[in-house]
Amino acid sequence: MTTRIDTRFAELKKAGRSAFVTFVMAGDPDPATSLEIIKALPKAGADVIELGMPFTDPMADGPSIQAAGLRALKAGMTLKKTLDLVRGFRKDDNTTPIVLMGYYNPIYIYGVDKFLVDAKAAGIDGLIIVDLPPEEDDELCLPAMKAGLNFIRLATPTTDDKRLPAVLANTSGFVYYVAITGITGAAAADASAVGEAVIRIKRHTKLPVCVGFGIRTPENARAIASHANGAVVGTALVDALKNSLDADGRATGKTVNAVAELTAALAQGVKGAQQAAE
């Protein structure tokens, strides 16, 4: 089964460049502004959109993304509304891949089977669930594959060669390499170490490898993108959003543009990179 993710990476390969993957939190700072933001992302140069599912206890996220999730929850965001948001986006855009990223509990409570049907119908292409390692594949990974959604696994600096095959076994769409041991937004990723890791992962899989955690600037993005099939930026965009809010944490006239402008600058960085050798 071909998803929008597969199609997009095939196109990028033909064009000889890496993907720019953007992360924003669904419903941050409120559902209406959030829809405007995600609509603006592809226009500003995003190739793939990762949409965070707000959760009260995001244990792999740093302060910026924690705060983004809490803003969204305060604005009344739920998993159902996240699916509505994607449905709204799909009215105008049927090609940009959307990957939901977050933690398992809201999906478990929604009901896995119902969620997969609703997510597919809403136009979601893939899932990245931080707290579902291969040891828990029965929970969501295998049902998601069956439902035609990509289950995108995180590989990390602690995932050694012995473990990589298990991590990659049921992965589809792309592999998300976490450039640092740590939480989102914490440290700067080192491009040369990332390059070695990507080569190591590529020995085990034909899937595209995107790299995230610790990429903040167009220069970072370019350096990483030259070693990988894609660069993911999240915290920097979330910070740009936050800095555009008023004193009460509400959206202002600048909010959508603040995210779009940084997206455009980062996209330039990624597009300036030479595609990594296959």
Partner: protein, 405 residues
């Protein structure tokens, strides 16, 4: 619900860490290799007689075990029913049962060559025990504690600092135990190469619920022997308080297959079960948090809700996965006690027995006050006095003075 009774209640978990549908390993990939290493290190240690011998030495001479099983004569007279015995875990070095588990985990950390220890703490008892053993073995110790708990448990914060630990007040979320655990997990994911996460209760990803249970089972094993010596038979009932549930699991587990023994776990009902509370089984349902599937307090969207208890050690919106399983198969009865009931029990035990309990086991005493009078005089009831109340004296003093004004 249609539940098949197992042949033994003590054979869990399965090789993937499941107790029925509960437990598991719901963690970030970064941590997974380390969790598998820990499982292997624990399996090796269990098979190594030298590990047990070394641990027994410290349990006897450093912790001060065995802890007495004490007949609470005046409490028994006052309640007029069951014969009440207190398992005196509050007499352990560091003042609670927490040290049993910490000793085991620190010895595992040493076997694994880890020099940096992190821990989460609610009331500070687990933090103090961890700081103590890190001091004893010369290890770096960082304790994450919710900022709210840092305020209400000052004596333990000072103790940890005196022992050389760094106490990090956690400002995120509700600033209590669950957020301390989030922050400890964030630290672990960042410093995974040199850090051992010493979890304080029978929760978290497999193998933690199992290894913490095993280290705490000394409570129930001693109780069995001691009751045999004193009364010549098994107790008729066991009562223990539950936050995550390690003191309770330690007492209960060795008795799970003794069908004559009634078992009661006591959750914190806070202001009452219809208001803010911390009773995950009474007021929650199964969900996934902090590495395991278990009963959790949450809203309709699966967002974790704030817990409340007067006792910082019980102020957690979840419970260990094995407890969730024991609840579902009906082997253990889970009750709850409110803040006010715990305060009354705190005062009663202090005045009748000259033992100031921690607010956590005061919840268990509160249910003993309810269950005891309904039992006959030959009924033997054991309550786990899991910690001493020194840490709570300032807080309870403030509350009582406030009330008397």
């Amino acid at each position: 619900m249609n539940v098949v009774k197992p042949n033994s209640y003590r054979s869990g978990p399965d090789e993937r860490g499941h107790f029925g549908i509960f437990g598991g390993r719901f963690v970030a990939e970064t941590l997974m290799p380390l969790i598998l290493d820990l499982e292997k290190a624990y399996t090796d240690a269990k098979a190594d007689p030298a590990f047990q011998i070394e641990m027994n030495g410290y349990l006897k001479n450093y912790v001060g075990r065995p802890s007495p099983l004490y007949f609470a004569e005046r409490l028994t007279e006052h309640l007029g029913g069951a014969k009440i015995y207190l398992k005196r875990e509050e007499l352990n070095h560091t003042g609670s049962h927490k040290v049993n588990n910490v000793l085991g985990q620190i010895m595992l950390a040493r076997r694994m060559g880890k020099k940096r220890i992190i821990a989460e703490t609610g009331a500070g008892q687990h933090g103090v025990a961890t700081a103590t053993l890190c001091a004893r073995f010369g290890l770096e110790c960082i304790v994450y504690m919710g900022a709210v708990d840092v305020e209400r448990q000052q004596p333990n914060v000072i103790r940890m600092e005196m022992l050389g630990a760094t106490v990090v007040p956690v400002q995120s979320g509700t600033r209590t135990l669950k957020d301390a655990m989030n922050e400890a997990l964030r630290d672990w994911v960042t410093n995974v190469h040199n850090t051992f996460y010493c979890i304080g209760t029978v929760a978290g990803p497999h193998p933690y619920p199992t290894l913490v249970r095993d280290f705490q089972s000394i409570i129930g094993n001693e109780t069995k022997v001691q009751m045999q010596e004193i009364e010549g038979r098994l107790p008729d009932s066991l009562v223990a308080c539950i936050g995550g549930g390690s003191n309770a699991m330690g007492l209960f587990h060795p008795f799970l297959d003794d069908s004559s023994v009634e078992i009661f776990g006591v959750e914190a009902a806070g202001h009452g079960l219809t208001q803010l509370h911390a009773a995950s089984i009474a007021g929650g349902r199964p969900g996934v948090l902090h590495g395991n599937r278990t009963y959790l307090l949450m809203d309709a969207d699966g967002q974790i809700q704030d817990a409340h208890s007067i006792s910082a050690g019980l102020d957690y919106p979840g419970i260990g996965p094995e407890h969730s399983w024991l609840h579902e198969i009906g082997r253990v009865n889970y009750l709850s006690a409110t803040d006010d009931e715990a305060l009354a029990a705190f005062q009663l035990l202090s005045k009748l027995e000259g033992i100031i309990p921690a607010l956590e086991p005061a919840h268990a005493i509160a249910k003993v006050m309810e269950l005891g009078p309904k039992r006959t005089k030959d009924h033997l009831m054991v309550v786990n006095l899991s910690g001493r109340g020194d840490k709570d004296v300032p807080q309870v003093g403030d509350i009582l003075r406030g009330k008397s004004k």
